[in-house]
Symmetry: C2
DNA sequence: TTTGATTGCTAAAATGTTTTAATTATCTTT
DNA sequence: AAAGATAATTAAAACATTTTAGCAATCAAA
């Protein structure tokens, strides 16, 4: 458990000042700096000594002085949800490439948790945040932005909040889904959504409603709403209801809903799933193995993650004023 | 973007020294302290002022001085793998309850990545690590332990390394799996495993081999090995090979292998999956919807996560010498 | 050879805490 | 009222960096 070697130890051994060592340690990369240069010989020697003493900078001291931590916080709805886990992985990879390390936190769609997790991250001095905002999180997000902390919203925006944002083109995605079902001959297409008021979900409804109206099927359009916290309790009734009324096409607005829904369909009719065509958001292993085909809107997970990180780092390093909104295109997969 | 309020600002406003404020901020909880007390009146006033100034301690300064960050690092194989994502979520929850925040990192089973991720975490001053060790990671793990950094191994141990460890009883789990298949009438049971040399995988082989030998079926026992990095390339051949030789029971040693395997079976024979009974490790949505039943060994995810955190925090706070190994019981689910 | 610029380096302040040792204030006893 | 004990508070050092301002030394030009 050898004592930690500091910049001072190196300075002593090299017979120079700590300032010099600090310059070498940092300017190394941006070696073009006019001011504060160090001769190649000294630089070399210091580097050498640092290496053989196995020097590792103390990041607490570093960030106390510099105010930066090279750390970002990522707040999603639930890290164990495959969709967010995939994104998380992607964020991790891209962030690491830029020497950033990531904190992860889950909100379970609760604004209080969101606030709490974000507070924790800020207290630990993160340089920026990537957040999947939940219902009623406008206040929290605003506060972060007002505090001058770089933030990127992911998966959904928040009405009335100006900040970088990376989302799917949800309107279009839902429109594609509806069109797809109708093209395949569906006559009665309905949607199953959450009760939650989230931008992405509202957009999906809008996209669905739009297509239905366009095709003169506005009358038969219907959206069922299930509580986020009680999917297993409510889904069976919703599914039964739809089947009893002869629905032949269903759009589930999230991967969780889709899975729950298909399970219900399967319970009722394992062979034909009630003869209903189904489209969902986000993929899952078992789609290919269902007795009836399940189509789904593929989320460009890698892009969602990498774009979010890109925007955030950009924001951290350049402190720009202009916000940008990245809207990604969905891909429908059969 | 209000300037950050410090302990000094509070001291000034309250007309006391920074030391007093510091005492109040920390001893608050452990209020029974003999030494360094501050009168209830002053305490009250300081707390009041701190609250109305919305004081938030600077954690960089805190950890520079105290050497602690209230942060732990979690290194898994792949955070986007549902198994690890579930554990991660669990770790997050338990850690947050104790006011710890977590860094996450993935290794993709590469020792170099493991080293790199761990270095990054240590540089950021984590108080401890929860690690899923990969092949050839003994050196890295040893170094961490030698540096006096609390560490808990998760999901698998490392031979010859003494440290806290939380695992499934893999031997037993595999034995249960084999027994299960045989009880259901399987005559020719084989196993599909990775080529990797990991403790948990070896134990699963041992459990399988043990049961087979015990039942006088040692002759017919056979383990197929697939490279971690080339599952889709190798699985089809393995599955075909097994089917052609009349295998009627298969044990897949990981959830990824299981899913890949079942997909292959499905591709060959969507209805009966080749009439083969299958057991795997870890659950997935679609098991209930397969034409033939897939059984699986349920991993006690919540316990894996919470026990790991418990051991780690214990280690961080008490610096004990004695290492403990928690071995959890598997549950077979049909 | 003086002047002015450039190069290479350093001393010291600053960052926001915690903690030690010391000091002052307030009580009890006598 | 003095002495001793105890309670309340503080000054200052320490933690490991970064960065500002400035000092020598060397070099180029006049």
């Amino acid at each position: 458990m050898s004592k930690k070697v500091t910049i001072r130890d190196i300075a002593d051994k090299a017979g120079v000042s700590v300032a010099t060592v600090s310059f070498v340690m940092n300017n190394q990369a941006s070696s073009g700096s006019e001011r504060y240069r160090v001769s190649p010989k000294t630089t070399e020697r210091i580097l050498q000594i640092a290496a053989e003493m196995n020097y590792r900078p103390n990041s607490a001291a570093k960030s106390l002085r510099s105010g930066r931590t090279n750390t970002i916080g990522v707040v999603v709805s639930d890290i164990s949800n495959k969709f967010f886990a995939d994104i998380a992985r992607c964020i991790e990879d891209v962030a690491y490439q830029s020497n950033y390390t990531v904190f992860f936190g889950s909100t379970d769609e609760s604004p209080e948790k969101l606030q709490h997790v974000i507070d924790g991250f800020i207290d630990r001095g993160i340089d920026g945040l990537i957040v999947v905002p939940c219902e009623n999180s406008k206040g929290t997000i605003r506060k972060v932005l007002d505090a001058g902390i770089p933030l990127v919203m992911l998966d959904r925006g928040v009405d009335g909040v100006e900040a970088d944002c990376v989302t799917l083109n949800n309107r279009r995605a839902a429109a594609m889904a509806a069109q797809h079902l109708i093209d395949r001959g569906a006559r009665k297409v309905e949607m199953v959504n959450y009760t939650m008021n989230l931008q992405n979900l509202r957009d999906r409804e809008a996209g669905y409603a739009g297509v239905m109206a366009e095709l003169g099927m506005g009358e038969s359009a219907k959206v069922h709403r299930v509580r986020f916290r009680n999917i297993p309790g409510q889904m069976p009734r919703v599914v039964e209801d739809m089947l009893s009324r002869g629905v032949d096409g269903i759009i589930f607005t999230t991967n969780k809903l889709l899975r729950a829904g298909v399970h219900c369909l399967y319970d009722i009719d394992p062979v034909s799933l009630g003869g209903v065509r189904v489209v969902g958001f986000g993929e899952s292993d078992f789609f290919g193995m269902c007795s009836l085909p399940v189509s789904y809107v593929k989320q460009p997970v890698e892009l969602l993650g990498s774009e979010a990180v890109r925007l955030l780092l950009d924001n951290i390093n350049n402190r720009k004023q202009q916000f940008v909104s990245v809207v990604l295109n969905p891909i429908l997969t059969e």
